[in-house]
């Protein structure tokens, strides 16, 4: 005998309720749970009593159906409000008046059945089985069995999802990194051993530290490659915590690892080996701590006319031969000042004749320009520049620009 509970909106509650009665539970859909209630007769009594017990346990209005056929129970629970107990052999009769849309057939089959004027399960059940099979194939035959309440399938019991998380409540608050590292190492050791047992690795660590008289301290580290090396994971956590230490003594530690399948990679025989991912990640974390996260990575020029537009991408070792990518015959190379330096520029006939900026000042001996670029006019921050290349008495060539929106001048860089 199988029981089915159907209610809108609270799948967890349904599963919880079902667990109280049976270990073999199927989450048929978010609003429907099916479970095996065989053997409950001796504990609770008649099917009606079992159904009532389930209803009482649920505590919210639910539809419950009991049947020896799992699908019949599901259909009846979905189609009939309240409690339905289907006696063995009575499935077809109970299901007969229910509407056809309780079956989930393909849209084409549903359309055809609708054209046939089949509106209830009883009407479908009454069609000649051979005729149905000849017209609708396996799907039709299965739907008809469902309508007759004799599909006779096995249920698909739920399995617990694998979770890799550990918590440790501390007897005394910890406020130093070293003892904390010791504890972290222990927890990570356990978690990584479990990962190894399931042949899994982690691609993210989530650390939560419950603090004394302060809001919890949380951090999440995404790993470039899945790994389960305790030392590396610990080092990464240490670097993170030293860069952003918690603001109060720690009362409780919780670590959660996101399990993924480990990545296997075969390297080419003649290719230079890239640094080991774990070591690379640790090095990048160290650099980030020193220089700021936004200043570490691989620069990439952006596809725009806006001068000096680039972004930093996360560093990834590649085997590309950079020398070949460089422009072949650039006559001049610009050494940019980032950010550009403010400059005072004197003009004559709209042409710069003198520049003064911090350490640099002098008469403009020669010039080329203006070179104009503007864009992002649809954005709130458009740009409009007029650039000049100038030669000063120090023998060097410089690039300056006027921001035409503000009228301010900048020294952008010098040509090598």
């Amino acid at each position: 005998m199988y029981a089915c509970i159907h209610a809108e909106g609270n799948p967890l509650l349904l599963v919880e309720c079902a667990r109280h009665f049976s270990p073999r539970i199927e989450e048929t859909s978010p609003d429907t749970v099916l479970f095996d209630v065989r053997g409950l007769g001796s504990l609770i009594g008649e099917p009606q009593a079992i159904a009532q017990a389930i209803a009482n346990r649920a505590g919210i209005p639910v539809s419950i159906a009991l049947s020896i056929d799992p699908d019949a129970a599901v259909i009846a629970a979905r189609g009939i409000r309240g409690i339905t107990v289907i006696p063995p052999g009575g499935e077809a009769a109970v299901l007969a008046p229910l509407p056809l849309n309780l079956l989930s057939g393909s849209p084409e089959t549903a359309e055809l059945l609708d054209a046939w004027g089949i509106r209830t399960l009883g009407e479908l059940a009454a069609l000649p089985p051979l005729g149905v099979a000849a017209r609708l194939g396996n799907e039709g035959a299965h739907l008809q069995q469902l309508a007759q309440g004799n599909a006779g399938r096995q249920i698909r019991p739920l399995e617990d999802a694998l979770r890799f998380e550990e918590e440790m409540e501390l007897e005394h608050p910890v406020d130093l990194l070293e003892p904390l590292s010791f504890l972290l190492s222990r927890i990570l050791g356990d978690l990584c051993a479990r990962l190894a047992f399931h042949a899994l690795s982690a691609d993210e660590i989530r650390l939560t530290l419950i603090l004394e008289n302060a809001a919890p301290h949380r951090c999440a580290l995404r790993l470039p490659v899945p790994m389960r090396d305790v030392k590396t994971l610990l080092k990464l956590l240490q670097l993170e915590l030293s860069a952003r230490p918690p603001g109060a003594p720690i009362l409780k530690i919780r670590i959660e690892l996101n399990p993924v399948k480990p990545r296997t990679q075969q390297h080419g025989l003649f290719l230079a080996l890239a640094p080991e991912p774990a070591k690379l990640e640790v090095t990048l974390s160290r650099l980030s701590n020193l220089l700021g996260r936004e200043n570490v990575g691989t620069p990439e020029l952006l596809d725009t006319h806006r001068p000096d537009s680039f972004r930093m991408n996360r560093f990834a070792a590649t085997n590309a031969r950079h020398a070949e990518d460089a422009p072949a015959n650039e006559a001049l190379v610009l050494r940019r000042y980032r950010p550009p330096r403010h400059a005072q520029v004197r003009l004559q006939n709209e042409i710069p004749v003198h520049i003064a900026t911090g350490s640099l000042q002098g008469k403009v001996l020669a010039h080329a320009g203006p070179w104009r670029s503007s864009g992002d006019w649809w954005q709130t921050e458009p740009w409009d520049h007029a650039e000049w290349d100038i030669a000063l008495a120090d023998g060097a060539l410089y690039r300056i620009h006027e921001d035409l929106r503000t009228g301010r001048w900048f020294l952008e860089g010098s040509y090598d």
């Binding site: 054209a115 005729g131 194939g137």
Partner: protein, 1050 residues
């Protein structure tokens, strides 16, 4: 005076998404900047050249013609026509490249000329070396600059190649300029400065950027370096260009030198209309005179003597204007149609011509109807005449078009183009897309921009934006609105005009580049009909008219089934039954008089003669309605108001329209009679007052008009009234000749409907979609008139609807039944039906299995659709569901072994459809219903609700509140009705008309638009037997039943 400079390299919006200003705007700005001349080089064509040329001419400037030609190596050659030879070469080269390329080529496969082809057609051209996309820039990048210049010198000849310099304040460009200068100096090639112009003003750069995104199908935020670097590609003055090129003054001076070399003007196309082959020793004119006189005698018979002076006068004018060939060629097309049995009728101003009538080009006798020839042709105007031929739409019209191609050669005739421009909805959607607005927002906005009729004057783009939830205080939204307004009316792509054909003596591809059209076997010129007319290219409009096809098919059916030979030209002119039907507004399916507005006027108009019908066709038009002509006319017609002809001298002109000017011809005659204008001057007046009215021209003409009237003794208030009525009316007048041509068709359709209902309905159903009503309404109307409509039957139906002999001999008149054709089974393909009919011809089908087996072309769902529509019932099926049951098995392929095995249990397991289910299946499966109207099944329920049937409304006194209910078949919000909505609601007794006031419509918009079955309450309005219900309350009937599609918002 600005420093002398001529811009030789500019692209307009006619480069389709690669230029951001219209040719007319360039002409205006060029005039302001005092540029004496300018060259327009649109990409791969002369799309914008006619507009550019004529607008430059208006400004007193020279417009040079050229193109940026794409070469197979990817470079773009800026080429300018030096003389006619050069222009013709470019036309032919462009035609060659376009015709070997698909209409919509994939990127990288666009029409392009091979270098050797450029050499072949290089004569008469000036070549600039181009900008970054030019041949020289590409060659320099590959280190082959010198070779490129050598090739250009060899190809175009020294003196015709100029090294082009552009300065847009760009470092890379300047580096290239230095390379070009050095190469040019070493080869002694002169420099020339251009600005590679893409727009008139710097601000237009934003439109160009939006176009670039549309062109590349990317958003602005993702377009990156596809966008322009700055806003420097605008038209610049000589002073500005001289400043830019102060270090190379010769580059500026050379622009004048190049311009001086360019002798070609677009007015000098060398176009000639084809000569008509006439017998040896005769001129075209002599031949035309002979043919006209000969046919006029036959056409006018005893009236020939009266008609002769007019015919001779027309022939003299045709002779003077050297148009004999044109008339002969149109006559030739008409003869082809006649020989092929294709119905043809000339319309438009040609119907004013007795020569056209005599030659059988038009069907209205202009002398009998006192039409005005000057409206068609006048000596003063010096324009080509305009003859439009109405043909049956579809395959027959295509045959005529193909005849013209065959007769004048593939490169001797082509369709005119139709420039598709950005309009409210498309502009908002596309700009919104490139600016990255969400699709839902754009959908909402599109929904608010009306596509139909009436537009609230307060319904501005700003309001629509606000209603769509876009905050106009946000800069991005403001920019969006600005751009939407900025791209309004800019060309988007080139379409094909529905019927205009240009014909040429010899090679049309030397006159204008030709392109493939979307339809196979058609080519299209790069200009629209106005451009063609401006440049003197003669066009013949071959227009498809659904009603012509209906009339033609009706005649065939009448011949086959009634054994009667009808000639539309010889129909009884004053058939009382036909006029009775018209007076009763019983006009569903009739040409031009079937709309709700027509039906509301007919009972007041009470037409009794053909001329009444001409007026009827012309009066329900935006012109007379907006010009407030309709009500005075109807009041006078009903005797409620006395006719007033403004002045006794105008009596002959206005008498027949009771003193109300309704037709353009009357406007011309008023000017001729009251102010002694000549025919040509009067036509000039009409044009001055027309849609593109110019204040200046109007003032000049008004002065002349008043002077003329004063001379004739018409002064004071009468003069003012006449001037006012001309001014108010000129915008909207409808040509009388056109109305007369349409009235002929309207009369013919009315006559056929009244006397040969079965044939007429059958032809109507076979030529859908057309007209005002859905086939379901046409069928119900025919059934009300006693026609028996038989269901689709796979054993009897053809693809088209057909007539069958009367099964009940007791019925009179129509005496035929109409059998619905297989074409009405939705989803059944014509080729499947063809295979089915071929098999049926061999042997009848034994049952559904037999059908499925013998017609493997039928898809599974096609068999099911036929079964659901009841078409398979005659194949041993007890009812539709049984047919569906059998069809489902038959359509399953069971393999050769089992194919003959019969079903174990042949009894039908499915219950028959209920009446409602059958109705639903009919509407869903065929779109029509031949059984009882759905409302008939609900009459008892309706009676209980106090609902009055549509047919009973006429008997209810005005003002009494009623309830009506039925299916909404038409929802209309005409532009002339100030926001009032009209609904037509059908029940089993007929159609009720409902008027909804704008406020009520706004309150009930969702109920009215979202429901097909409505119950409506309101008082009856019965004026002159025109019955309306003035809606006060709406209630959806809540039927889930499918219904025929309604015809909304015209």
């Amino acid at each position: 005076m600005s420093a002398p400079y001529i811009e030789l390299h500019a692209r307009s919006a006619f480069s389709f998404l690669q230029g951001a200003s219209l040719p007319e705007e360039y002409a205006d700005v060029a005039a302001k900047l005092e540029l004496p001349a300018m060259a327009l080089l649109d990409r791969d064509g002369f799309y914008g050249s006619p507009r550019f040329f004529s607008s430059m001419k208006k400004q007193g400037l020279r417009g040079h013609t050229g193109t940026e030609l794409l070469c197979t190596d990817g470079s773009r050659y800026p080429l300018i026509a030096k003389n006619r030879k050069g222009y013709q070469n470019l036309c032919r080269l462009l035609t060659r490249t376009k015709l070997r390329t698909e209409k919509h080529p994939k990127p990288g496969r666009e029409a392009a000329a091979r270098p050797e082809e450029i050499a072949e057609f290089a004569d008469g051209l000036v070549c600039l070396t181009g900008d970054g996309d030019g041949p020289l820039a590409r060659a320099i990048r590959r280190g082959k600059g010198r070779e490129c210049l050598d090739f250009l010198l060899r190809t175009f000849g020294r003196g015709n190649v100029y090294a082009e310099l552009q300065r847009h304040h760009d470092r890379d460009e300047e580096a290239r300029n230095q390379a070009v200068i050095s190469l040019a100096r070493s080869l002694r090639i002169p420099l020339v400065a251009t600005n590679g112009v893409c727009h008139t003003q710097p601000a237009r750069r934003q439109v160009l950027d939006v176009f670039t995104c549309l062109h590349h199908k990317v958003k602005l935020a993702e377009a990156g370096r596809l966008l322009t670097k700055n806003a420097e590609r605008h038209l610049k003055s000589g002073a500005e260009m001289s400043r830019l090129f102060a270090d190379y003054p010769e580059a500026i001076a050379n622009t004048l030198e190049v311009s001086a070399q360019l002798g070609f003007e677009l007015s000098d196309l060398g176009y000639e209309f084809p000569h008509y082959p006439v017998p040896y020793g005769q001129t075209e004119m002599e031949y035309l005179r002979d043919r006209t006189r000969e046919s006029a005698r036959m056409r006018y018979q005893s009236g020939y003597k009266r008609a002769r002076p007019q015919i001779e006068r027309e022939l003299d004018i045709i002779d003077k204007l050297n148009l004999a060939g044109y008339f002969l060629i149109v006559w030739d097309i008409v003869n082809f149609c006649r020989d092929e049995g294709i119905l043809v009728q000339g319309r438009g101003s040609a119907a004013n011509s007795a020569v056209c009538y005599s030659l059988g080009i038009t069907a209205v006798d202009p002398i009998g109807m006192e039409l005005l020839f000057e409206r068609f042709l006048s000596e003063e105007r010096g324009e080509w005449p305009d003859i439009d031929l109405d043909l049956p739409s579809g395959e027959k019209r295509e045959r005529v078009i193909q005849y013209v191609y065959k007769r004048y050669g593939k490169l001797g005739a082509a369709m005119t183009a139709n420039v598709i421009t950005y309009r409210g909805r498309s502009a908002a959607r596309e700009v919104g897309k490139v600016m990255g607005f969400e699709t839902e927002t754009l959908d909402r906005l599109s929904g608010l921009i009306p596509m139909w009729g009436w537009q609230d004057p307060d319904d501005t783009a700003k309001k629509q934006f606000a209603e769509a939830g876009l905050d106009l205080n946000h800069p991005r939204v403001r920019k969006f609105l600005e751009l939407v307004e900025g791209i309004q009316d800019m060309p988007r792509h080139l379409g094909q005009h529905s019927g205009g054909m240009v014909i040429c003596q010899g090679q049309l591809d030397s006159v204008v580049p030709l392109e493939p059209a979307s339809m196979p076997d058609r080519v299209v010129v790069q200009w629209d009909k106005e451009d063609c007319a401006d440049l003197g290219l003669i066009k013949v409009d071959l227009l498809g008219l659904g009603m012509m096809a209906v009339l033609e098919e009706s005649l065939v059916l009448i011949r086959q089934h009634y054994k009667r030979e009808l000639d539309l030209g010889q129909l009884p002119p004053d058939d009382p039954e036909t006029y009775k039907a018209l007076r009763n507004a019983d006009t569903i399916g009739m040409f031009q008089v079937e709309s709700r507005a027509q039906q509301a006027t007919l009972p007041r108009m009470k037409p009794t003669t053909f001329y009444d019908l001409v007026v009827q066709v012309a009066i329900i038009r935006p012109g007379p309605i907006v010009g407030k002509m309709m009500h005075p006319y109807l009041a006078r017609r009903q005797g409620k108001e006395a006719p007033d002809c403004l002045h006794p001298c105008l009596e002959p002109v206005l008498r027949r329209t009771l003193g109300v000017p309704l037709f353009q011809e009357q406007l011309l005659r008023i000017a001729m009679v009251a102010a002694s204008f000549t025919g040509g001057e009067a036509e000039e007046l009409r044009r001055a007052m027309g849609f593109k009215r110019s204040q200046e021209r109007m003032k000049t003409i008004e002065v002349r008009l008043r002077e003329g009237m004063t001379r004739n003794g018409i002064t004071g208030a009468t003069q003012d009234t006449i001037v006012q009525s001309i001014t108010a009316f000129a915008l909207y007048g409808f040509p009388e000749s056109h109305a007369a041509s349409f009235a002929l068709l309207a009369y013919a359709s009315a006559f056929l409907k009244v006397h040969f209902l079965a044939a007429f309905t059958c032809a109507l159903l076979n030529n859908q979609p057309m007209g005002f009503y859905h086939p379901a309404v046409l069928i119900k109307d025919a059934q009300h008139h006693g026609l028996r409509v038989l269901p689709i039957d796979v054993t009897k139906s053809e693809w088209d609807c057909t007539l069958e002999n009367l099964s009940d001999a007791s019925r009179h008149d129509t005496s035929k039944d109409l059998r619905l054709g297989l074409r009405y089974v939705k989803g059944l393909r014509a080729e499947s039906a063809e295979a089915l009919l071929a098999q049926r011809e061999i042997a009848p089908f034994a049952d559904i299995d037999d059908l499925a087996r013998r017609v493997p072309e039928l898809h599974k769902d096609e068999i099911s659709r036929m079964a659901a529509a009841g078409a398979l019932n005659p194949l041993n099926a007890e009812h539709r569901r049984d047919a569906l049951w059998k069809a489902s098995r038959a359509a399953q392929y069971s393999g050769p072994l089992l194919v003959e095995v019969p079903e174990n249990d042949p009894a039908a397991p499915l219950r028959p459809m209920t009446v409602e289910e059958r109705l639903d299946a009919d509407y869903r499966g065929t779109g029509v219903n031949i059984g009882l109207h759905p409302m008939a099944h609900r009459r008892a329920e309706m009676d209980a609700l106090g609902v009055t049937p549509a047919a009973a409304l006429a008997g209810i006194p005005s003002g009494k509140p009623v309830r009506i209910a039925g299916c909404v078949i038409v929802r209309q919000r005409p532009g002339t009705a100030k926001g009032i909505v009209f609904l037509s609601v059908e029940d089993e007794t007929g159609i009720a008309n409902v008027v909804v006031m704008p406020d009520l419509f706004d309150e009930n918009r969702l109920t009215i638009i979202g429901n097909r079955w409505l119950l409506i309450e309101g008082p009856i309005q019965n004026v002159d037997n025109v019955v309306h219900v003035r809606a006060m309350r709406f209630e959806p009937l809540g039927y889930a039943l499918a219904a025929a599609a309604s015809h909304d918002f015209h």
